[in-house]
């Protein structure tokens, strides 16, 4: 009997030719029913119309290393606006002959980030490595020691500034957000109310109002004679803003913990601090990785808002180039270029988040 069944399965009933292989895939995924076939044909036609002309504009008719005048004669994209101004777009007003310093600082940052990607490398040495690395980056940027000339922070700009605001913004906002979330879950009414008011207040207003506050109101808070760097003020605004959003995400994770976890920790005699550190937070923070990553991506994108309060971040340096009469009118090319930079940043963060989620997942 079994043999008959096996033979039957193996020989007699083969899937129809049209449902396997390339043809089968095409039929199943592109031409299933008249509506799908219609959609496929229309989209293919549109792609056929659009893609070659975009390709032509971007690569065939484009110019890569001309002056502004040369660009006006070209039929395609003017990538010269980027190649000609690359160093200004990337480094802003940083002294031209010193620009190797932020470059090395950025490579140091990328190297550290790349090395930290692997969770096996997460140990005490890496923490020291980061501390040392951040110190070295600061030293490189600012100078004033080891024969490096001092470069005031007013001259910092471009990609290093964007990265600086992002890295410090994200690393400082995360612990602050966790503390706020714990405060909001606290049983002490005074602390709970303070945290709730803070979180709801910040989440209700746009970031730009906080940046205005940092740039125009904050100096009024300080006694006379004390000034705080403009970059630091924007940085604080970004941290305070992001922390409120992280707090809400973490609260979701805390609420997802079952009572049993708290009770089990209590029955082991753990204090509040140890309960949170060893039992609750490791689980709660893990389940909120996906929303946390999207908050961090938002924060990274939102650093571009400092362009409005006249900090020369990547977006602002690009605009400065475009306001030059020579390069006026080539904004699409320039904006496309920095859009790609931002995209790469966000996309790699999102990918890493997905990877981390998979690695930390304890479900089988």
């Amino acid at each position: 009997m079994e043999e008959i069944v096996e033979n039957f399965a193996a020989e007699e009933v083969k899937p129809p030719v049209a449902s396997v292989g390339v043809m089968g895939w095409v039929k199943e995924n592109l031409f299933k029913g008249w509506f799908n076939s219609f959609l496929t044909v229309v989209i293919l036609y549109l792609l056929f119309k659009v893609i070659p002309s975009i390709f032509e504009w971007m690569f065939i008719d484009s110019v890569w290393s001309t002056t502004g005048e040369g660009c006006r004669e070209a039929a395609g994209a003017c990538w010269s606006v980027i190649t000609d101004n690359l160093r200004f777009i990337i480094f802003g007003f940083y002294p031209y002959d010193q620009q190797w310093r932020p470059l090395i600082a950025m490579f140091l940052l990328f190297g550290l980030l790349f090395y930290s990607r692997n969770r096996k490398h997460w140990n005490r040495h890496l923490a020291y490595g980061w501390l040392f690395g951040l110190f070295a980056m600061g030293l490189l940027m600012r100078g004033g020691m080891f024969g490096l000339s001092t470069v005031e922070s007013t001259k910092w700009g471009g990609l290093p500034l964007t990265l600086l605001l992002s890295v410090f913004g994200l690393t400082a906002a995360y612990p602050l957000g966790v503390i706020l979330a714990l405060g909001r879950q606290s049983k002490m009414p005074a602390i709970k109310i303070l945290c709730v008011v803070y979180i709801e207040l910040i989440r209700g207003v746009p970031l730009i109002s906080l940046l205005f506050m940092g740039s125009i109101i904050f100096p009024l808070f300080l006694p006379e004679g004390i000034t705080i760097d403009k970059i630091v003020r924007a940085q604080v605004a970004i941290i305070l803003f992001t922390a409120a959003y992280i707090a809400e995400v973490v609260r979701g994770g805390l609420q997802g913990m079952s009572r049993g976890q708290y009770e089990a920790a209590e029955s082991l005699g753990l204090s509040y601090y140890l309960t949170m550190r060893l039992v609750i937070l490791p689980q709660a923070l893990k389940i909120v990785i996906p929303p946390t990553v999207s908050i961090l991506i938002s924060a990274f994108k939102d650093t571009s808002l400092v362009a409005i309060i006249a900090l020369f971040d990547l977006l602002r340096t690009t605009q400065t180039v475009l306001s030059h009469p020579k390069w006026m009118g080539f904004s699409p090319e320039a904006y496309l270029f920095i859009a790609i930079l931002y995209f790469l940043g966000c996309f790699s963060m999102a990918n890493y988040g997905r990877k981390l989620e998979k690695e930390l997942s304890t479900e089988y």
Partner: protein, 393 residues
């Protein structure tokens, strides 16, 4: 109760008693908070006094002395700051409301496309979502503004893709029906239709409960909502006169003009937020289990009934909260208008701050207005959520 309790409690030092400790911690935090607040207020007042900056909202009644590019209500530089700020609020609401409607439509469309069985459609929607989410919205606004303001020709060479619509660096200008006394009545007829549909729906539900017969409510509603205004229009002799824009010197006269700033802001916000809404819609539809559809089919509902009667009501419950927060995001992001020169509330408030120097009041006003938007929306959504929430028995 227990003999040892009173004796042992006395032995516990106060810093180990959780209750006393919590009170002490709270008092300390409150005192620190109070000290900080007092310090900030006193230094700020001192600084303001030294710099000779006035305090209070007295400036609201003064003459603003600046023009605003576009306004929904009559406004001139001779009006007060309060009116200028009101113009800003209305401009913000205008871009936010139009943006929200367009975003929901586009977002739902892309979200459904993402779930399409057609590989090409689904992949394209996926690429759109990924790319749009990963580019800062401010950069997108600048991009569209550069296109609308810098790339389009001057009014004399305006693009004219369809009759009555012109695209140039002064914005988008299109023909609208010329004002006619019948418009008022057409609008009234539409309102009347809405009221009728509302009662019809109620009656149809109770009718179905009594007799078990379902009325084609949707078809009747469409007929009423379209038919009433149409009949009124025909009754007035079907006026078809259009107010066509005409080139007059260096600009267009007639028709309705949408400024390049408004167009860029609207387009940027809609394209950006729609990517997030699409994800919300996709997740919402996927959250409805496959069994629901099968159950609906097995009790004999037609395919056309399954979506509106079974899938959508359940999906909406999942979609509504994150959709609300996306709508609020769009409203808050509309404050980026200040970067491309659309006179929204933040932009007007910013000008006010620059003129009067009263930055604290200005920023406080900005925050207050957005807080009112957010809190009133959340209050409404909470009420709505309670209404549609699953009632478990």
């Amino acid at each position: 109760m227990f003999a040892l309790s009173s004796a042992s409690i006395e032995k516990i030092p106060f810093w180990l008693d959780p209750k006393k400790r919590s009170i002490i911690a709270q008092v300390v935090v409150l005192i620190m908070f109070g000290l900080l607040a007092w310090y900030l207020v006193s230094t700020t007042l001192g600084n303001l006094g030294k710099q000779g900056i006035a305090t209070g909202f007295g400036f609201l009644d003064r003459e603003s002395a600046f023009e605003i590019g576009e306004s929904l209500i009559p406004y001139s530089a001779a009006d007060t700051y309060a009116r200028a700020l009101l113009v800003g609020v209305l401009n913000t609401l205008r871009v936010a409301l139009v943006g929200i409607v367009l975003t929901i439509i586009l977002g739902a469309f892309i979200g459904i496309a993402r779930l399409s069985g057609n590989w090409l459609v689904s992949k394209l929607a996926g690429i759109y979502i990924e790319v749009m989410q990963d580019i800062p919205v401010l950069l997108q606004l600048f991009f569209w503004y550069a296109i609308f303001y810098g790339m389009l020709p001057s009014p004399r060479q305006a693009l004219n893709p369809i009759k009555g619509l012109f695209l140039c660096n002064r914005g988008m200008i299109f023909a609208v029906p010329q004002l006619h006394p019948s418009h008022k009545y057409i609008f009234l007829a539409f309102i009347l239709g809405c009221v009728l549909v509302y009662f019809l729906r109620h009656w149809a539900i109770s009718h179905q409960a009594r007799t078990g017969k379902a009325l084609p409510v949707f078809k009747i509603s469409v007929i009423i909502l379209v038919g009433f205004p149409l009949l009124t229009w025909v009754a007035f002799g079907a006026p078809t006169h259009m107010d066509h824009p005409k080139l007059h010197g260096f600009n267009f006269k007639g028709g309705v003009t949408l400024s390049p700033e408004f167009m860029a802001l609207l387009l940027g916000l809609v394209l950006y937020t729609a990517a997030f809404v699409a994800e919300v819609v996709r997740a919402g539809i996927q959250s409805v289990g496959k069994g629901q559809r099968e159950a609906a089919m097995s009790i004999g509902l037609k395919p056309g009934q399954v979506l509106p009667l079974v899938i959508l009501p359940q999906a909406l419950r999942v979609i509504t909260p994150p959709l609300t927060s996306q709508m609020l995001n769009l409203t808050k992001n509309s404050s980026l208008a200040v970067a491309i020169g659309y006179p929204d509330f933040v932009s007007v408030a910013n000008t006010t701050i620059n003129q009067t120097g009263q930055s604290i009041e200005g920023v406080a006003l900005i925050m207050a207005v957005y807080l009112i938007f957010s809190l009133s929306t959340s209050a409404f959504m909470n009420w709505y959520n309670k209404r549609v929430a699953l009632v478990e028995r």
